[in-house]
Amino acid sequence: MSSATTPPDSDPAQRRRVHNNMLKLYYGLNEEGKGAEQAESLGPCDINGPHFDPEIYLNKLRQECSLAELMDHESCMVKQIRSLDSDMQTLVYENYNKFISATDTIRKMKNDFKKMEDEMDCLSANMAAITEFSACISGTLQGQHAQITKLSGVHTLLRKLQFLFELPARLNKCLELQAYAQAVSAHRRARCVLQQYSHMPSFRGIQDDCHVIMEQLAQQLRQKFRDGGSSAKDLSECVELLLQLDEPAEELCDKFLSHAQSRLEAELQGLEAELKDSAELKESAVTDTGGGSAQKTSPGSNPVSPSSSVFNPFLSPTAGTDILEFIDRGCNEFVSSLCLVIASYQELFINRPQEGELASKNIPEMANGKLHVFVDNLAARYFSLVERRIQEEKGVGDNSLLVRALDRFHRRLQAISKLLPGSAVPSQGTEIVVRAARERIKQYLSALQTFYHDSLTDVRQALAAPRLSVGGASASGGGALVGGTTSKDAPPSLPELLMSLSNFILNQLKSVLASVHLFTAKDITFSNKPYFKGEFCSQGVREGLVVSFIKFICQSSRQYCESAGDRGGSTPPALLLLLSRLCLDYETSTISYILTLTDEQFLVQHHTPVTPVTALCAEAREAAQKLLNHYVKVQGLIISQMLRKSVETRDWVNTIEPRNVRAVMKRVVEDTTSIDVQVGLLYEEGVRKAHSSDSSKRTFSVYSSSRQQIRYAPSYTPSAPMDTNLLSNIHKLFSERIDIFSPVEFNKVSVLTGIIKISLKTFLECVRLRTFGRYGLQQIQVDCHYLQMYLWRFVSDENLVHFLLDEIVGSAAHRCLDPSPMEQSVIEVICERG
């Protein structure tokens, strides 16, 4: 439009001027103002200017130019005039042609316009007619339009009403055909309307009818739901429909869960029944085997086991189902159906897409809560059953079964954790596994302890078995312990017993470690739990099992010292010696070996402080020391008792002249020799102070001739008592104080020295309590000489024996009514003879 090119506010006068200017430019005319300016500037001499004055120009040329120039100018001028003329001619000719054609065109146009005008007139006439008709039509149709719209509305309404009236019948039909979904959707469509118009009796009737039918339908659905035999898909449809029927979701959840619960509970009861069965079976088995165990586990049938009684705790209960079977059953039946229930429940109530008003009720949250409670409840019962079953697993024979069972148990619970992310069930399951593992360690510990005790009992039997007629006895009793190391007709010697005992213990410990190690195997799911990585290894296995067992060994050894000392020494001394050596071996090597083994097997990371090897070694050494001390004490006591009885029961005043060494002394020497042999089997010789080869003779002669003489000589002078006391006191000044019951070192000489010290000191004290006649004193002299001859070789420092024997004879002399000592030579003769 024009408004686009010209500014809207331009007035028409201005527009006209622009057009003029354009035309002037076309015809070569300048604007008046401009032309005047150019004329003024160019002056009259410019031939092309508008103000050219030929007179002035001519005059100027005449004045300024020469003739030749004028001539040239004139010819040039003529030439220009000519060219201008020809130009003019062509111009005129061209314009003429144009003019002619323009005239033709105008003429033609004049004709055409005429025709057009006629047609335009015709058109306008037609249009007027159309307008007229149209107005006429619309005028007639005006009244009927509203009526049609109304009719069409009525039609739809009627259709709806028909639907409503037909609804009960339709629903009934659906019900018959069991097309529940259709029925529900139909009812849903009608429900609002019916609700809205329920004040009208007819609608009310329909509504009631529908209600009844739907009630029936819901009933059927519920029945179906309750029956439960239907497939999951059916069930879910059922639930969906029920939900749509405004059935309270909570109730549905409850029903679903209670239904599931009854099923699961039946399974749990099955498990429980099995548990009871196995318990009863076991009981009856126990009572059965009570009578027949002797035949069942005869020593011969188990060559590896120390004895039947030892092996028993390591037997798993054969009666009833084993734990793996039980857990398998639990997993397959209970856990898998629980998972199914969870899955379908979630499908039904939690994960379904929510639409319409159902979304607002926040069903998933409620349903989820219910599910958790449900699962927790059932899982708790299941766990209690499993725990009961695990607790029944007392036998520690085959740990792999238990570990596999636990592994399966744990693995299956992971499924629940995947299904039910927030549930505490898997962690509780892990807890159970941890508890079971802990329990297991305790059982192993007690089994080891029983084993140790039983082994000791066997050793005891082997020691008690008569040495000479061992053939049959040791084969059945202690022979089993020695196993194949010795032929059956030879009695087990102490070193062999020690070796087999320590081997048995070590092997047992190793096998237990291997069993426990199963808990941390890589293919076991729970082995990567933090408990099994850390605490189980360090606190459980290392501290709870290995360290506790070693401590137990030390402790029970110490108990042997304490209990036996007071109440009549029930422990055979050889056992004490054996145990002492065992503890010492533990101290030197076994403990560190076992702990290193454990640390390596279990890669124990010491997060928590653990008992150091040195502490255990110290404890073992202490136990060894205590046992050896006790051994010395017991052996010393046995010999002391003999000596004491022999001194106390004899009437030393009225005894006859000595002819023999008393039998007791011979017995003492014999016993000492056999102790020497016994200790020598287990302990090294030890160091003694150097002495010459004939030391017994030499020292004795000194003792009896010089010292004895000095001692007895003064008794015949009045100042005697002072002098003897002085002498004995001086003598004591130079001898060291003797600790009678002092700790011994771990070698033979020290042990023997201890025993001899105790015996001789007893002899001394007993002698001091008696009064002697002449021959009594002489008998003591003979006895002491005899002891002197044999005992020096056992002790570390023979001077000790000399000193004590000296004291005995000295004391006897003091307590003698008629102290006249026997000739040294006679004593020697008697001793050599007897």
Partner: protein
């Protein structure tokens, strides 16, 4: 003052018998009986002068025989009993007798000690506790805190209760009991309980300790196997009526509550040989003295089973001190059972230890070689107990 230094007195003869003179409460006095088969035996009366740390001795002759046991009357300080060996022909019998010290001994010894040693006076025999029918006497016990009229002698397996009449010049057996059993039973030691109106007696034979009711002369309890070996001595806790301690050849000292005899209340094993003698301090029953044939005397502080487990109770009338004491109590850590000290002055077996009757902080020990050592409780401990 060298308070803690031991005072040593040497006898010429070997000796086993030691007793504190119970009736004497002013002077610190001990009686020692010697053992010699060849010479006349003596009773040494050892007076200890606490101020000057000196010993005054008086010697009385006891020519009846070597003395195995001695004890002083609780009522009359001049009266004492001994058990002594009488050797007649080829027979040795241990007899018991009541003696009176000659009245001049005290004055005489003080004026010229040399005289008395050269010419010792002889004990005056009051009466024999005739036990020839019953066998050798092991010991004679005076009724504790009694009037010096009743003694018990233990002879072999018999308990004989004697009444001393006519100022102790006549002794009659008022009742007796006999221990029956397998084998040769023989009492080794006994103690008359100071509790229950002095109606109870405890005896030791072999490894058993027995309690007797003196009214019915019947056994009231028996601790079988009280010690692993022979029981050598016993003593009643002076302040706790059911507690007694015993010692024996198993090197142990045990404490018993006679109401629960299955287990000892406590057991100590500090000696390295037989323990021959055990004595409670008369006033502070946490202090316990033991003597052993390892030649050592050990003083133990058994606070936990004493009558003062929480230290000395503050007397109500010490009002001025109460505050300080209470502050002290707070500062004190609970006392522990411990060995206070081990005395090693003896060279030979120590067969007897005895607290002084007059000074509760002083005690004597006697070894076989005739060495009597008088020691005191360390002063630090003494103050700790008192304050």
């Amino acid at each position: 003052m060298e308070d803690d230094a031991p005072v040593i007195y040497g006898l010429e003869f070997q000796a086993r018998a030691l007793a504190a003179q119970t009736a004497e409460t002013d002077a610190i006095r001990f009686l020692v009986g010697t053992q010699s088969l060849k010479f006349d035996n003596q009773i040494h009366i050892i007076d200890f002068d606490d101020e000057n740390n000196m010993i005054n001795k008086s010697v009385l002759l006891h020519d009846a025989g070597e003395i195995w046991h001695i004890s002083g009357s609780p009522a009359d300080k001049a009266v004492l009993t001994t058990c002594y060996n009488k050797t007649s022909e080829s027979r040795v019998l241990t007899c018991a007798a009541v003696w009176r010290m000659p009245p001049e001994w005290e004055s005489g010894s003080h004026e010229s000690p040399d005289d008395s040693s050269n010419n010792p006076q002889t004990l005056e025999l009051l009466c024999h506790l005739d036990n020839t029918a019953h066998g050798s006497a092991a010991c004679v016990l005076w009724e504790p805190m009694g009037d010096g009229k009743r003694v018990i002698s233990l002879a072999e397996n018999h308990v004989l209760l004697w009444d001393l009449q006519e100022s102790s010049s006549k002794a009659t057996i008022s009742s007796s009991a006999t221990l029956e059993g397998k084998g040769q039973l023989k009492f080794t030691a006994g103690k008359w309980s100071p509790h229950h109106n002095s109606t109870q007696l405890a005896t030791a034979n072999d490894t058993a300790i027995r309690g007797w009711d003196l009214r019915s002369m019947s056994q009231i309890y028996c601790i079988e196997n009280a010690h692993g070996q022979l029981v050598r001595d016993l003593d009643f806790n002076p302040n706790k009526q059911y507690y007694l301690s015993s010692c024996g050849d198993d090197c142990k000292v045990k404490f018993w509550d006679v109401r629960h005899i299955s287990e000892p209340v406590k057991s100590l094993e500090e000696h390295s040989h037989w323990v021959w003698s055990v004595r409670y301090n008369h006033s502070h029953d946490q202090l316990l003295l033991t003597g052993s044939s390892d030649s050592r005397v050990i003083l133990s502080n058994m606070v936990s089973i004493s009558s003062e487990p929480f230290g000395h109770l503050v007397d109500d009338d010490d009002l001025s001190d109460t505050e300080e004491s209470q502050q002290d109590d707070k500062g004190k850590e609970p006392l522990q059972d411990s060995i206070i000290s081990t005395y090693e002055e003896h060279e030979d077996s120590v067969y007897a230890v005895e607290w002084s009757a007059a000074d509760p902080w002083l005690f004597a020990s006697l070894s076989y070689d005739g060495r009597l050592v008088i020691n005191r409780v360390p002063r630090a401990l003494k103050y700790r107990i008192l304050l």
